[in-house]
Symmetry: D2
Amino acid sequence: MSFNTFGKFFRFTTWGESHGPAIGCVVDGCPPNIPISEKEIQIDMDKRRPGQSKFTTQRKESDKVTILSGVFEGKTTGTPISMIIYNEDKRSRDYETIKDKFRPGHADYTYFKKYGIRDYRGGGRQSARETASRVAAGAIAKKVLKEIIGKKLNIVGAVVQLGVMGCDRDKWSDLEIRKNPFFCPDKSSVKTWEKYLLNVRKSGSSCGAVIELRAKGVPIGLGAPIYSKLDADIASALMSINAVKGVNIGEGMNAAYLSGEENSDEIRGKSGKIKFKTNKAGGILGGISSGQDIIASFAVKPTSSILNSRETINKKGENTKISVKGRHDPCVGIRAVPIGEAMLACVLLDHYLMNKAQCSN
Amino acid sequence: MSFNTFGKFFRFTTWGESHGPAIGCVVDGCPPNIPISEKEIQIDMDKRRPGQSKFTTQRKESDKVTILSGVFEGKTTGTPISMIIYNEDKRSRDYETIKDKFRPGHADYTYFKKYGIRDYRGGGRQSARETASRVAAGAIAKKVLKEIIGKKLNIVGAVVQLGVMGCDRDKWSDLEIRKNPFFCPDKSSVKTWEKYLLNVRKSGSSCGAVIELRAKGVPIGLGAPIYSKLDADIASALMSINAVKGVNIGEGMNAAYLSGEENSDEIRGKSGKIKFKTNKAGGILGGISSGQDIIASFAVKPTSSILNSRETINKKGENTKISVKGRHDPCVGIRAVPIGEAMLACVLLDHYLMNKAQCSN
Amino acid sequence: MSFNTFGKFFRFTTWGESHGPAIGCVVDGCPPNIPISEKEIQIDMDKRRPGQSKFTTQRKESDKVTILSGVFEGKTTGTPISMIIYNEDKRSRDYETIKDKFRPGHADYTYFKKYGIRDYRGGGRQSARETASRVAAGAIAKKVLKEIIGKKLNIVGAVVQLGVMGCDRDKWSDLEIRKNPFFCPDKSSVKTWEKYLLNVRKSGSSCGAVIELRAKGVPIGLGAPIYSKLDADIASALMSINAVKGVNIGEGMNAAYLSGEENSDEIRGKSGKIKFKTNKAGGILGGISSGQDIIASFAVKPTSSILNSRETINKKGENTKISVKGRHDPCVGIRAVPIGEAMLACVLLDHYLMNKAQCSN
Amino acid sequence: MSFNTFGKFFRFTTWGESHGPAIGCVVDGCPPNIPISEKEIQIDMDKRRPGQSKFTTQRKESDKVTILSGVFEGKTTGTPISMIIYNEDKRSRDYETIKDKFRPGHADYTYFKKYGIRDYRGGGRQSARETASRVAAGAIAKKVLKEIIGKKLNIVGAVVQLGVMGCDRDKWSDLEIRKNPFFCPDKSSVKTWEKYLLNVRKSGSSCGAVIELRAKGVPIGLGAPIYSKLDADIASALMSINAVKGVNIGEGMNAAYLSGEENSDEIRGKSGKIKFKTNKAGGILGGISSGQDIIASFAVKPTSSILNSRETINKKGENTKISVKGRHDPCVGIRAVPIGEAMLACVLLDHYLMNKAQCSN
């Protein structure tokens, strides 16, 4: 069972609701003797933190992470690392208007039907606020990977499509990603995207996004066929993120359109080194990493809470309408970038440890 | 850990290599007192069985399933159900020509690098032959679901895209799917597809496919947030199938292009009944089934083993070429239809049991 | 994997070290709509709380539990319940004298050899302080069981042997257990035990104990053969408690001395009711509860930290001596009673939910 | 969940009923490149095989094990190892006399109440025949351990008490164990035991036994606190064996009688080597192996099926009597020796792999 726990060997369990006193997670299975500090984790937290630009949610949260256990004198001890993040912006809004309505596109209806009870404040457990805990766990995973594998391991994500607007993926720049508020990897697209998203916001609507993740320096051999294939675990990890509806590995859905010649990455050897001529597979063959870059992408649906009025029902089954008051978040997909990176880091570390157990001597 | 085991509550463990004496699986967690027979399971096995048309692999296997345990006097007993399928077409081909080469697009290279050893005969464990075991497990899952939930529950899959050829999904007919060798749901596309695929085969190449799965009659409330979300588990299940590179739930990757208005399914109530106006979400909200049809699709890459010569290396790292002799399978995606159905059935039963434990009284 | 997580369906993950800022646990898989309050949980916490009599450790902790998530308007929501207990008595003792020494009978040496690092303050993670989290989780399990099964379900533990001093188990009184500082079930033994333990303490030594747990009103059918047998899971649960070295179910080790006639509990039926003539099996047959009282007992070894000097080594491998200064805890076994009850409650609820999933209709 | 699966990293899933066509198991997580043959496994199978002396069951089974997958050219490949053992002695006895009766001391009643159905032939799934699969899995575990750790690792079990008859554990001889039909380690007790057991058998009764397991050469650091402690996992493993009612680690239940001085094993260092003065802890401190010999013992209850008539009920709840016809097995505990060894080997390998993943660099 793994209701609120992710991972097999490197595992984290998240807890907390949007408007409860706090959220947090417990990381278990972290190797000992890894130097780690709250400060390092906070860097990743800040990438996901709300309210950083006018293009994302305006909720005010400092998202300060505190380590409660598992780290002693600056190093992990091999025991569980408990982290807590207090909820600050939980002002008593007028939830009366929405507490009995099911917001379309949200999980209000399904949570209520499943559990017979739900914390309606800000979406409760279904809120994307839970993902802050993932980012904290992912920051630890990244640090462990760097300590064990070395600096060459690098995981970077970017928004490669914003609503109907694409970008030139060949112009991908890690540096550029950190510079613009969209995590856009192609400098030449930033201006257009800005204009587009402002329009979306003004119109009271929202748009989706596609996020691409690239992991360089991943060792060969990660992934445990058949039912812990690396790609299957990445798919599960990314699909578990709020609002994600599709996951691709390498060419992904597009692979259906290719011919056998186009799709299978030919291999060449030269003075003891192996080189694939292409990377349609996204760095994974038969569920096992091939040493090529891991490429995965996922689609985030448009924000469901918009200014424009939507039809729905209330708890009694009566027809009613609903709309968001004040400012809204025109594209929840943007903030999914650090979350995707965190999840990929956790999957890679999990498989690294698994592989060490089974296949190393 | 779940190397070769799928599922949490309703679980199956598969074993066996393409050219070993047999393959099989052990189904654990199956509820007791469910009538089940080898004959019923065989119906599903026959849908996946190779050599049924000129469009799929010509390997000759009767794929006859034998139950070794867990069923007594025609009913399940709640103890593990072991099933075995003997490999028949394992004639001693000349594997000498390929045993030391890594077929591009296959997992030969990654298996060898991971394990330091591999059964090269027909791909060994990485062979799609393993999926026969999944179909057997899925047949049991389907039967249990029908016994518990009733006849209204129905899971059907179809090929909705064959290489570059689409079809009209609005013309979907469950009946038509069973009539043509492509599991194509749209009668008007069958002829064109046949011509297209014959050309692909003749040219010595191959093509990919997109399979869509539809599950009707699924109860509300299946799916355990956060890390056992129904869609996350479906994504993992489908991505674990050989050659799958992308998974969509509902609108999937396409959701990125939609506006908030287009994408969020509005809800209407009428005389105590609830109706969603659309089903962009594919029947899953917040990882929990909403009572709408579950819609999932996945892309299968083109067959990697083709007649046309491909560049690769051998175990020594030397450059060489490889190609398939004799007849080849122009589209492995076709036979993925019953496998996808089986996996979806297993996920749904798994979550049905989980939900019963946690949320029923 | 389950490093710091206990249970399969009803699961709790504990975290925290003896002298860190706090300890706590996350309970996952708890059914929704169960009324629960911090006050109820505190009742059990207080049973385990240190410093309540001169016979147990003098550490000052209020052990106040705070719920951080998973409970809304007084009821469980089906989402994870996070609980935190702040460490209060973590005054900066002079750990210098023991930080580099391995206390015999403790896990100082093995932790250090395994992890290469350890939090030496008060034993760190190996401290019995971790069990406070178990008691909190167990309090929830008990409440859920009572809500679902009803008042007839009752779990009571007692110390049935204190060092070399036994008691008359036939005089077991639930009422008496709550009245004396030893959780002794037999009133006539209390005075003698008091005298005995005062002597043990005065002599600077310590003694072990045997705790017996009795669960009444347990439904028939709990336990999942073969590897989740109810008795196997109880054995694992109890053996995981600090300092426990042996576990018995029913007659336990004593069963070896009995004849087949003496040991197998004969069954009689009378007007539709079934009655076992004896309960040598401790209420479990083939790993499944029989409806009889569940009887389990476990032995706790004598406190390893005593006033009398003991030989040991330091981190450098040099020979040295060690002894406790000030007051010591002459019998850690006494406080194991509420912990044992908590673990048994968690196992029973876990199996109740499992059985509901698999075997109910 | 782990209904019929044992282990976390090195895992085996068993299946099969006493009188079905076959029994078997699937071993998953076995490291690759380990030489293994059916012949080696058979050696352990033969130790457990029935009908080898007049003191055990007379069922005729050759217990020949066949490997169906996971081994290629004599070596493990890292893929699941499926093994099958056909049932030979399943002659159609007259089960009519017992099919509707619940044998006291057996799981007939609880299986029937839990599942509502049971395979009554020879006990079905509850039969100790299932343990043959464990021995097969254990044989693989032992081989892997020897290959990885080396020859110094040695796991030996013996019967140290037969009913009311003890033996001198200080005279333990590994050689002697293999020479007598009781796995008795003390030559001087064999004669007396023989006389005793013949008497038990003649009287139509049965007796229990205590088995002690000793593992030498176990590396320091195995065991994952808190809920995968090595002793907790051993306890679960041994308690899962049919008819086991008690498990001790080191001094076990006896630890309750000892003083702190007697029980805590003092440590001495000498020229870089560490030595414990005693081994009361059974080689495990805080759930982690200390490098000392692992000592575990467990009690097997007397055979429940005896010649002497016992009172019971039938499926209708009516009072009746039951007794075994023909020859019976006076002490099922004897054949538990190789099963205990197998389970201990599996636990040690499981923890070895876990530890390698988490704590090695």
